[in-house]
Amino acid sequence: MEEYAREPCPWRIVDDCGGAFTMGAIGGGIFQAIKGFRNSPVGVNHRLRGSLTAIRTRAPQLGGSFAVWGGLFSMIDCSMVRMRGKEDPWNSITSGALTGAILAARNGPVAMVGSAAMGGILLALIEGAGILLTRFASTQFPNGPQFSEDPSQLQPSPFGDYRQYQ
């Protein structure tokens, strides 16, 4: 914990943006490689060239749209952390829904609602997976959070300190 004393929030936007771009570019690259390979004329040479062209034209586009999503999401998330003064799963879910709504704003209100619902549901699923993962990790390492087993051991130190101050 000590090495994370720095506030993560404003820098996290850049971090998320770049992470999303990388993810989209790599994922889109793999997908477009296969698609370009299959859609090209017969012949290994043609196919490889078609695959390369598809990657070059399409993968950065997908990375870019991922980056837009990630950056906007992170911005809203950080604003919500700032406004609410609290970090919990609600921030992620709300900012996912808001991001979906904002990015669909040009398609009209109905599309906005649908997109917002999709974003919210998606982020809720991700949050659920995260909670499950941390729970699973903490059952694997039972003494992960440093709590003393016996409550009576915890008791004297705060009280002793407290009474000295009074």
Partner: protein, 232 residues
């Protein structure tokens, strides 16, 4: 996939036609009101214009023939059922695989939704207890005096800069559920950070968690402990 679908739909259509014929026969039943040699006009569907038995679409039928038609249509129906079953057994293996895949997907999604809803809305979830304890910290004058007015709370930081997870431990003592949480608060005072320790205990009568203690350890130099609530 395509061909099997095709057989299914055509079979389905066949069955519908037979059923339609059947209902037609029973609704046009002539021997109830009319004489025993009463005639019924029976419009046969196109599928039955097979060479041999039914060539014309409108036939005048005696009672006995009516009965026979009903009988034979019943047999056809049973045979179709058997054929249908036989055909579907062949696809059952593939359908079963799809079914399992769909089932797994639905159950995983449902499980994730269950986890997140429980975390967000259950009154005994760590997230809810964290929220309540944070509210109590915010309204405590001593905490405000030490840390400064807008107080924010967060949990353990992950590598990606998320601090939503509040570390907690659950245990059972004397048959009652206990839970201990730890989270961090910061205020407007620069470089002051506190660790909040919370323990809740299940109330045996109401089955809800009740706060056992909340105290704040100030982590930076003038170390001290602020006790917000202590019901021990």
């Amino acid at each position: 996939m395509l061909s099997s679908n095709h057989t299914q739909t055509s079979l389905e259509g066949f069955r519908h036609q037979i059923l339609a014929l059947n209902t037609h026969c029973s609704s046009a039943r002539p021997w109830g009101r009319q004489s025993s040699t009463g005639a019924a006009r029976l419009a046969l569907p196109a599928a039955f214009k097979t060479p041999g038995q039914f060539r014309i679409s409108t036939v005048v039928l005696s009672n006995q023939v009516m009965m026979e038609i009903q009988h034979s249509s019943f047999i056809i129906q049973v045979l179709t059922h058997i054929l249908f079953l036989f055909l579907s057994v062949k696809e059952a293996g593939r359908d079963f695989t799809y079914f399992i895949v769909v089932l797994v997907g639905i159950s995983v999604t449902g499980g994730l939704f269950y986890v997140i809803f429980k975390e967000l809305f259950s009154s005994s979830s760590p997230n809810k207890i964290y929220g309540d304890a944070l509210e109590k910290c915010r309204s405590h004058p001593e905490v405000i005096a030490v840390f400064g007015e807008p107080i924010k709370g967060y949990g353990e930081a992950t590598r990606r800069g998320r601090r939503q997870f509040v570390s907690h431990i659950e245990y059972v003592k004397d048959g009652l559920k206990h839970m201990r949480l730890k989270f961090y608060i910061e205020g407007s005072e620069a470089a002051k950070r506190g660790t909040v320790h919370v323990e809740v205990k299940e109330n045996p009568e109401r089955g809800r968690f009740e706060i056992r203690y909340i105290f704040v350890d100030v982590d930076t130099f003038p170390r001290r402990t602020i006790i917000i609530e202590d019901n021990r």
